[in-house]
Symmetry: C2
């Protein structure tokens, strides 16, 4: 399904440009004349169309690499696509576009301003832990996205890192990003799909290079699939640390996530969380922060209490019953650094021990 | 249509609570048991249901006042609703909920943190203008929302204020807010409809009182309807100042907005803008900021240039061709001040003169 999506990158995005063109036709001719003379809106549409075609080379290469990596014959994909089309099941434009944006967030210098504060909080917590190369700490990071955090943890040394991601859109982007041989050797145009919040058209049309870093991939173990069903009983109690970054609010059943984090940790193991509480469509239950703390305590977690002032993980979150167990860290998200949106979260940090 | 929406406030929101209940049924019984014991999720659903019923008293009173104000017989509304239902046209939950949120944004102390910086920028610009009670300055503010800005301008003295709003959801909320006799005499629960980004359940369930201010309403002229068609030729060149706050990105045809602002101003008149560029669904053209500047100049506006550092209207916006003509002001939007979202914009400020 995800491969299908990437094969249709060009088709779906050019359809969107066509929609913009059709909209523009509604503008009265006299106004169009001024717009064309002054800023060349049709030229802008043409340029963006070309840039989508350029981006399609990356999308096509993601498909090529994905087929190779997962050892899927091209013919099998073609047949799958034919079946989908028979059933009138279209490819998902949004998941593809969002997946590719993670080249920026996870694998570019431009994404650094979004990830640096979140990563610093988590890496600082891990770096302080006692460990050695012969006695490494076993870390599991579910919700890996395009994978950057896992490789950063690995680079600290003394950790045995497992990462997990459910979305095949993300996994394709991740697998593609980490096999590129030289830094910043590829580029694409990440901002052309959304014309809101643009300071200048040339900013909107700029390319972003990636990857800014070539990790030593070999040691990070990547497991793909559903966090709640993927880890067998034999893995219960086998991790020293679980890091959930921008993860827990993606749950359909949040209780299953929390139980599973508890199950997989060793007794005395540490759960480190940082992320917002932005529930998706159709979650089975939507807990507020104080409820997550209470339920987690009932499951057998003991939260670290720290009422001190600002540190790399933010400041104590205000609210009855939170009592220094949770900190708020301001984290920008899905911003174009040269754009005009200032979308952000107070991401919630805690460290809790499995009793 | 808007009145129809408000009459169905309870029905539509209780349907949403039912959806949440049904979702929760998917959670396995053993997990439900722990959730009930620890935090009482079913009790939370029940409480929120009651609070929606409580909010419905405000919604019903908005309908009562709306019928009275617009002199519409209740029977006429009932018949309209029957027709809508025959055509399977449902009421719009989102517009009603968003409309009522403007009791917070425009008419409560709690909304002050969102409006104060934006209002300060605009009011400071107006307050400096030469005027007297006998020679008042004529100001037009389209996109009035629930109306607060217009009354604040009026309170400066020496202005003849006209405000304009297209949305009848907003107009009903506005008309209702300004007829309340005593400050903070009403309350409602604005945060129960969205369970994301909640620090505590008690914060989510708190009431907000309104209105925090009783304006002297008599002098502000309110015209309802479409900005681009509402003002006749006889009104061309009749305003000294047009203030567009969080307005221009609501256009279907942005060119029509810009032309109309230019047409309605007196020669030498001033256009003051502050707002994001967040285009809605289906805009005919989506311009970046530099394009808006260029097109406006071509229409006959001259932008004030100010490359100085921070002031009440922000700092100069970076970008080729902007050259001190535009400033960026950080403005929070649609946040719950006790919640965990930090949604915000760099709203764009400019002052331009009609040549």
């Amino acid at each position: 399904m995800a491969l299908y999506g990437f094969t249709r990158y060009k088709e779906r995005n050019l359809a969107e440009v066509k929609r913009w063109r059709d909209m523009y036709k509604n503008v009265p001719k006299s106004q169009q004349k001024l717009v064309e003379k002054t800023i060349g809106y049709t030229r802008k549409l043409n340029t963006v169309e070309h840039l989508f075609e350029d981006n399609d080379r990356i999308a096509a290469d993601i498909v090529r690499h994905g087929l190779e990596f997962y050892d899927i014959p091209r013919k099998e994909l073609d047949e799958f696509i034919k079946d989908m089309q028979k059933e009138k099941k279209g490819p998902d434009r949004t998941s593809v576009v969002q997946g590719m944006k993670h080249f920026v967030r996870d694998w570019s210098e431009e994404g650094l301003f979004e990830r640096e504060d979140a990563f610093k909080c988590i890496l600082d917590n891990l770096a302080k832990m006692d460990r050695s190369e012969d006695k490494p700490i076993r870390v599991l990071a579910p919700g890996a996205g395009a994978g950057r955090l896992g490789y950063e943890i690995d680079a600290l040394g003394g950790f045995e890192v497992t990462i997990n991601e459910w979305s095949m859109y993300m996994n394709l982007v991740h697998r593609y990003a980490v096999q590129i041989a030289s830094p910043n050797s590829l580029s694409y145009y990440p901002y052309i799909d959304w014309w809101s919040h643009q300071a200048t058209t040339s900013d909107m049309q700029r390319a972003v290079h990636f990857p800014d870093w070539i990790p030593s991939a070999s040691r990070v173990v990547m497991v793909e699939g559903d966090f709640t069903t993927l880890f067998s009983d034999s893995e219960s109690g086998s991790y020293d640390v679980i890091v959930s970054l921008f993860f827990i609010d993606t749950a359909r059943n949040l209780m299953a996530y929390l139980e599973n984090i508890h199950r997989l940790l060793k007794p005395g193991g540490t759960w480190i969380n940082l992320g917002p509480l932005l529930y998706g469509t159709g979650p089975w239950l939507q807990l507020s922060l104080d409820e997550i703390v209470k339920v987690s305590e009932a499951l057998g977690f003991e939260f670290d209490v720290d009422e001190a002032g600002p540190d790399v993980c933010g400041t104590p979150t205000a609210g009855e019953g939170l009592d220094g167990k949770v900190r708020s860290l301001y984290v920008p998200y899905a911003q174009n650094p040269k754009g005009l949106s200032r979308n952000a979260y107070d991401a919630q940090f805690w460290r809790a021990t499995k009793r």
